[in-house]
Symmetry: C2
Subunit: 192 residues, 2 copies
């Protein structure tokens, strides 16, 4: 998505250790009018798949998930990272290792909101090593729902999470795939 | 908002201890087309206030925040509950006691995204004792931004957080205010 690549080059900041900061428009301050365009593009890519549920993970997947669900006119479910008082009853649950935080946490979804008959599109802001997506896919499979595919706003191609999922036959559509970044020059190279 | 009251009565579940579960449409599974109507109503209430920034707190404020920001055509900023690698530099920070979880956590906002010239509307899914809103208001005041008001989807009137803020002269518009609930009969009484 050309508009997104331009936005990343204009507003993104590259730091040592292959860190791309896009918190001015994607995951702290959110450029909602821009994110709406992202939602429309994801809808265009999966428009023929009869998607009836969008699935994401808290927190930074929720805004993009809302925009995508709006285009499909369907509900969004977000997986929770901690059990709260307000999730009662049976849940799907799986451990997810956070690459960013260096910890493992349990992710859960109430069984009431995912199951047979659901055609699920998973969305998230970032796809790097792919642990969050793998956890969500595990729960979709356990639930008996059908996985239509996955879509990330930004994929870090050099961390290979997306390619590993594609090798397993899962449709993964990222709107921008970064092949390499240089924190000294600030250069960002996208996959064609 | 009549549509919301009906939704709460149809889909909400009342449990012992004054717990209202609306996780089927508001804070786990999200009825995005419905939430869009909520966003339009919040926009209608504050349409003459020149709002140029929506502020909320992760996680369950993000979806409603996105819908409200969409109507105003402005950015959404969500306060983070934990410091991550991806927030660099100076932040506003304040402790918030969680009534639901019985813990205190630090909430923070990057100084780059809140400051003089911002006319801020704070939104959240629930308003009970009001600790989250109070924390957000503290940071808005510290930043030099102007607070236009606060809007919660559901206010638990019997926990008085909203009324205490109103007594301080803060404009608080909740779309449904619950005066009492009965977990045996399931009855929910709204404030007129």
């Amino acid at each position: 998505m050309e508009l997104l690549k331009q936005k990343i080059m204009t507003d993104g900041e590259v730091y040592e250790g292959n860190i791309l900061k896009v918190d001015c428009f994607l995951n702290h301050q959110i450029d909602v009018p821009f994110l709406r365009e992202i939602g429309k593009e994801v809808h265009r890519l999966f428009s023929d798949c009869e998607v009836n549920k969008i699935l994401t993970i808290e927190s930074s997947g929720i805004a993009i998930g809302s925009m995508v669900a709006q285009e499909f006119g369907c509900p969004l479910v977000f997986a929770k990272k901690n059990k709260t008082k307000n999730i009662a009853g049976d849940v799907y649950s799986t451990p997810v290792e956070s690459f960013t935080h260096g910890t493992t946490y349990n992710v859960m979804i109430s069984k009431r909101f995912l199951g047979k008959g659901d055609k699920v599109l998973i969305v998230d802001d970032f796809l790097a090593v792919g642990n969050a997506l793998k956890g969500l896919i595990t729960m979709v499979n356990e639930s008996g729902a059908e996985l239509v595919g996955c879509s990330a706003v930004i994929e870090k191609g050099y961390q290979h999470g997306g390619d590993k999922l594609r090798e397993q036959g899962i449709r993964v559509e990222s709107l921008a795939i970064i092949e390499s970044m240089d924190h000294i020059t600030g250069e960002i190279v996208f996959r064609n």
